[in-house]
């Protein structure tokens, strides 16, 4: 009882998203999670099971993983998805490593508008693997700088990493970038941090992506201050499956001829290949994959389409309303549920002032890109179905108050 009290006190020192008009995204998204998701993942047979190495008594987890892989593959427009990675940022690095194995090249071109934390993870790992990282600062333009990105691709390029929608909320032209990358023998890696967007936007796999990775937290998982989250990883060419990292679940039959599922192609993994493994990943995000899969099952094609439409509708309303605040303009020509406001002053201070008024109003780009002076006045605002019209009005009027 004393422990519970202590933890409750710590909990109360946080401002929960539900208790404020809430507009923060930037790689983690607040969506309504149906109550049955949390109920089902707490069943002891899921919660307290181990990795399904004994398939005869783990068909529940295995069938769920097969369904999860199939759902992710379809959402991404890919042929094969794995059974999850730690989170979007580590999945992004694993994709870069895989593209290096497949192309046997060492140069990686990062879009300037890739989530800077993801770029940092890639840079960190590349220091040790001696991959060459060609990055850039994000351009402060209404559309992503696809031309600048394409210009940096050369014959030594193993992969091109582009976020869709990007960190400023803009939507890059994937097909153009894919064509340019493929012409130079490079793989296109598409990063998606908001899976709900793919209920409305074309799937990256249909636009020329070779590897699609992302953060799955937005469906079923909850914000949880950054973790545990859910790394998604999928590829369009099934012939490359043996170069994929992470666990894979596959269909087979048992000795009586009944359909069943097993972890398969495990010779790629650390416990067998040891120093030659495709990744050192072992434990992944099984329970988060279950939450994602249940939420996706509750939605279905109809639900994810409607959810995406509602997000976009509210984001359009918010962009239109916020642009009417004096001194504020919207940077983006296109967006899904996230866009960048230009405030004319350091947005980080504005975010703190908004928080003092009980509004969690977004992320100042100076926090994400501390080294790029030109971005400091940008405020990244995210609008999901959890925001009401009143919340949008609260943000607009609070902005009017705090802007100099």
């Amino acid at each position: 009882m004393a422990v519970e009290k202590h933890m409750r006190q710590l909990s109360k020192k946080n401002l929960a998203a539900a208790d404020a008009p809430f507009f923060i995204g930037a790689g983690a998204y607040r969506h309504h999670v149906p109550a049955s998701v949390d109920h089902l993942i707490q069943r002891g047979e899921f919660l307290t099971a181990y990795t399904p190495y004994q398939p005869e008594i783990a068909q529940g987890t295995l069938q769920m993983l097969f369904e999860f892989q199939s759902q992710v593959a379809r959402l991404y427009g890919c042929a094969v998805a794995n059974a999850s990675m730690y989170d979007g940022s580590t999945a992004c690095w694993e994709a870069v490593a895989m593209a290096g194995r497949v192309t046997r090249k060492k140069r990686v071109v990062l879009s300037g508008a890739l989530h800077p934390h993801y770029a940092q993870v890639v840079r960190t790992m590349a220091k040790f693997t001696e991959d060459e990282i060609a990055g850039a600062d994000p351009s402060l333009t209404a559309l992503p700088d696809d031309d600048g990105l394409i210009a940096r691709i050369d014959d030594n390029t193993a992969s091109v990493v582009v976020q869709y929608p990007d960190i400023l909320g803009r939507i890059p032209d994937l097909q153009r970038i894919a064509d340019a990358a493929h012409e130079k023998g490079a793989k296109l890696i598409v990063v998606n941090t908001e899976p709900v967007a793919l209920g409305a936007l074309e799937a990256p796999g249909n636009l020329g992506a070779d590897i699609v990775v992302g953060e799955g937290q937005a469906l079923g998982v909850g914000l949880q201050f950054g973790g545990p989250y859910l790394g998604l990883f999928a590829i369009t060419d099934p012939k490359l499956v043996r170069q994929m990292p992470g666990r894979l679940c596959g269909e087979t039959v048992d000795a009586d001829g009944k359909r069943g599922f097993v972890l398969t192609l495990s010779t790629r993994e650390q416990h067998i290949r040891r120093e030659k493994a495709t990744s050192n990943i072992c434990t992944n995000s099984g329970l988060c994959a279950l939450a994602f899969s249940i939420h996706m099952t509750l939605l279905g094609a109809k639900g994810i389409t409607a959810l995406a439409a509602e997000n976009h509708r509210l984001a359009c309303i918010a962009a239109e309303r916020l642009a009417r605040v004096p001194g504020v303009s919207v940077l983006n020509e296109n967006f899904f549920n996230e866009f960048t406001l230009m405030l004319g002053t350091d947005a980080r201070q504005i975010v703190r002032d908004l928080a003092d008024r009980g509004v969690l109003g977004g992320v100042g780009l100076g926090k994400l890109f501390p080294d790029v002076d030109g971005l400091k006045s940008g405020l990244l605002v995210t609008v999901t179905e959890t925001a009401s019209l009143e919340d949008i009005e609260s943000l607009a009027s609070a902005l009017e108050e705090v802007l100099p």
Partner: protein, 123 residues
């Protein structure tokens, strides 16, 4: 034609300037059900002892080394669709790759069928 064997349980069938390489019946039995074989690219130059192919069972992955040096003429494309040929016909249809022989002297140190049988019996 002459057939040679290595201590790594590979066989080498020599026909003029061409050598065909596979793994022995003993090796496939040790591996169990073979599920995947990766053969070398045509045209690859292999030094003796270099990693040439990978053979995988459900629970294990093993490298197959070039027993002699040479240039790869052909990998066995049939293994891509039917890796189980390594189990059902290790000495024949389950061959891995063909080489042009770089140096006939390298065949000197290899075992013949009788010596290989004795070697297996000693294991």
């Amino acid at each position: 034609m002459a057939r040679y064997f290595t201590e790594e349980h590979e066989w080498i069938e020599v026909d003029g300037e061409t050598a065909t390489i596979g793994i022995t019946d003993y090796a496939q039995e040790q591996l169990g059900d073979v599920v995947f074989v990766e053969v070398p690219q045509t045209g690859a130059d292999l030094a003796k002892g270099a990693e040439a192919a990978v053979v995988e069972s459900v629970k294990a992955a093993s490298d197959v080394y070039a027993p002699i040096s040479g240039t790869v003429l052909e990998g066995n494309a049939a293994l891509e669709a039917d890796p189980e040929l390594v189990n059902t016909s290790p000495d024949d249809e389950g061959w891995f790759f063909k080489l042009t022989i770089g140096d006939h002297d390298e065949l000197e140190g290899l075992m013949n069928a009788k010596a290989y049988k004795a070697f297996c019996d000693s294991l």
